[in-house]
């Protein structure tokens, strides 16, 4: 009887068939994000930038035959033209190629460092909070101590000791960038662990590892993603700053930070050497921030309607 009623309902209402597929809270958030036009546009800008810096340099090379390091001192710095859309730098190198390369470095450093920071921070924060008591106190005091040290100072020490390579730049950034995520996750888990479904999972004999990784972390992931989207631009800025200080990516390889540094020295004469890398950087940061805001709104259940 029940099954017959049930199947009749399923035929009658399209909602019933949709229900059977199962839509998670993540899918709902994704739907809300897609309705946010600014966030969607920012997403496309980032996709375009990522695609441009992945395939752009080889397209430029195929069309004009430029690369990012071959100097032509006789050619020298020239303003934008049909042969060099972004102009050339002081050493006669095509600025478009260099900006695309720099963009590639910045985006990969930004994302990898942010992923590293989010991973360390999430696991650290969740474990600390779930363990509670003394373990929690000790683990959080460690965070406090690291927080109190000047952040850039730490990165500079790490980079100076370990050497100057791209891999180390993002490891160093990620290794000190997880503190905020750890605190955010700890706060989340503090409120989550007193919830009924955690008690229910415990009452069913779920192991502590299972509770942390299957029950607590997925529920704390919303704020982590928001922190992540806002960490990426921060990391890109940090990398730019490190390159600006000469500690990041080493010449002749470009990064946006290094290009802006070069451009800043000569901006009154060769304005394009600052305008183009600076413009691309600003566009990238703006898109990341708008996307981050959009993700935050989409994950906020109060924005449901």
């Amino acid at each position: 009887m029940t099954t017959r009623d049930e199947s009749r309902q399923a035929v009658a209402s399209p909602a019933a068939t949709e229900l059977v597929v199962g839509s998670s809270l993540w899918q709902d958030a994704w739907k809300r994000l897609r309705k946010n036009h600014v966030a969607v546009a920012s997403g496309w800008v980032l996709v375009f930038l990522a695609a441009a810096c992945i395939i752009g340099p080889s397209m430029v090379a195929a069309t004009w035959g430029y690369d990012y390091e071959t100097q032509d001192l006789a050619y020298g710095p020239r303003p934008p033209s049909w042969e060099h859309p972004f102009g050339t730098d002081f050493f006669g190198r095509d600025l478009l190629t260099r900006v695309l390369y720099g963009c590639r470095v910045s985006l990969s450093v930004g994302f990898l460092a942010a992923i590293l920071a989010a991973t360390i921070g999430t696991v650290y924060g969740a474990v600390s909070s779930y363990a509670g008591g003394m373990i929690d106190s000790v683990m959080m005091r460690v965070v406090d101590i690291l927080y109190a040290l000047p952040y850039m100072f730490l990165v500079i020490i790490l980079v100076t000791i370990a050497g100057k390579s791209l891999l180390l730049v993002f490891t160093a950034l990620g290794a000190v960038g997880w503190l905020l995520t750890a605190r955010v996750v700890r706060g989340q888990v503090m409120s989550l662990k007193s919830q009924d479904f955690i008690l229910a999972a415990q009452s069913l004999g779920t192991r502590p590892g299972g509770i942390v990784f299957r029950h607590l972390i997925p529920n704390a992931l919303g704020p982590v993603i928001v922190t992540f989207t806002l960490t990426v631009p921060a990391m890109i800025l940090q990398e730019a700053f490190l390159s600006f200080l000469g500690l990041g990516v080493q010449a002749p390889r470009p990064s946006l930070g290094a290009l802006i540094n070069d451009g800043a020295h000569q901006m009154l004469v060769f304005w394009w050497t600052l305008l183009f890398p600076g413009g691309v950087m600003a566009l990238m940061l703006m898109a990341l921030n708008f996307l981050g805001d959009g993700v935050r709104d989409a994950l906020d259940p109060r924005m449901n309607h």
Binding site: D196, A200, S203, G210, P218
Partner: protein
């Protein structure tokens, strides 16, 4: 006291659970003893804060220690004292031999996991089942608890189920490993009346087929009357009266039990007149009154009630109450 039969699955003796706070010690459970046999249903009734939930959580080792501690007591499951077991051994028992269902099915399921994941997890932990075996068993159990179209519904998320359906899922989760003891902590409080009856019926039916012993915690005397074999009445962390449900309802002896039964609305009394209530408020468990904690609210209070806690007095081989006043009565 009758001798404990061999089919006793859980025997709680003088369990005390205190919480150490900054300036006081809260005696949430203060010397509770009960035992339960295979297939039996024991009702534990009492007001909010009488310690009934904490008693069950303590038995499963689910109260956070610290701040909680057990100054005395044993929880014997088939002769093993659960209070002394290491956490790992308790994890093996929980959900496997001893399970629990909770009051609010709306918050007892993880909103981010499919129901299938939450059900199969139990089997994978305890029975080392392969994912496909676990899934089959989970679907079978969902059908058992009356979820229509279980094979497809299992892949839904909790928010796609109604409250009653979620409580069915919770029951399915708790019973997957066919535990010997099921603690049901107010399993129907958050549900509407028609669903309540269905859930209680379901628990009784599954209990019969699995032989599970059920400890039913509730503040609803109607639920106790309809579904339990024995009942224990708790007040301020202690059991004040215990006995077969029919006996306790027919001849309530402790003034608190009497008060509880008198405050029930009666359909034969008509709409006239206000409901009777027990005067006063439940005590602050951090600052219990001396002697019998019920004495400030008791209509039959004697002088010695203020000084000492009354002993448990047997009224029949199975029925007992803790009150000084019943010594005087025949």
């Amino acid at each position: 006291m009758p001798t404990i039969a061999t089919d006793t699955v859980l025997d709680v003796r003088d369990l005390r659970t205190y919480f150490k706070l900054d300036d006081s010690i809260v005696k949430a459970v203060d010397g509770v003893s009960f035992s339960i046999r295979r297939g039996e249903t024991l009702g534990i009734v009492g007001e909010s804060g009488s310690g009934k939930s904490v008693a069950c959580l303590s038995a499963l080792g689910l109260v956070p220690r610290p701040p909680a501690f057990h100054p005395s007591g044993q929880v014997l499951y088939r002769g093993r004292n659960l209070l002394g077991l290491p956490e790992r051994a308790l994890q093996d028992l929980r959900g496997n031999r001893l399970a629990m269902i909770f009051q609010d099915p709306m918050t007892s399921l993880n909103p981010y996991l499919r129901v299938s994941r939450q059900l199969t997890e139990v089997l994978e932990v305890h029975k080392s089942a392969t994912p496909s075996e676990a899934r089959r068993a989970a679907i079978a159990m969902l059908e058992r608890v009356g979820i229509p179209d279980a094979g497809r519904r299992i892949d839904n998320y909790p928010h796609q189920f109604s409250g009653g359906m979620r409580q069915r899922v919770m029951i399915a989760m708790a019973l997957l490993c066919e535990p010997e003891v099921l603690f049901a902590d107010e399993p129907t409080t958050a549900l509407d009346v028609t669903i309540q009856a269905q859930i209680l019926e379901l628990i009784a039916e599954l209990q019969e087929s699995f032989g599970t012993a059920v400890v039913l915690i509730t503040h609803d005397l109607g639920v106790v009357a309809g579904t339990t074999d024995r009942v224990a009445v708790m007040y301020a962390g202690r059991i004040v009266e215990e006995g077969p449900t029919s006996e306790v309802f027919a001849s309530p002896t402790h003034p608190y039990t009497l008060g509880l039964l008198e405050s029930l609305p009666r359909i034969d009394a008509g709409p006239a007149g206000a409901l009777t209530a027990i005067p006063g408020l439940p005590p602050d468990l951090g600052h219990l009154p001396s002697g019998c904690p019920f004495h400030p609210r008791c209509s039959r209070v004697l002088d010695r009630c203020r000084d000492a806690y009354p002993p448990r007095i047997a009224l029949s081989p199975t029925h007992s109450a803790a009150c000084f006043d019943i010594e005087v009565a025949p």
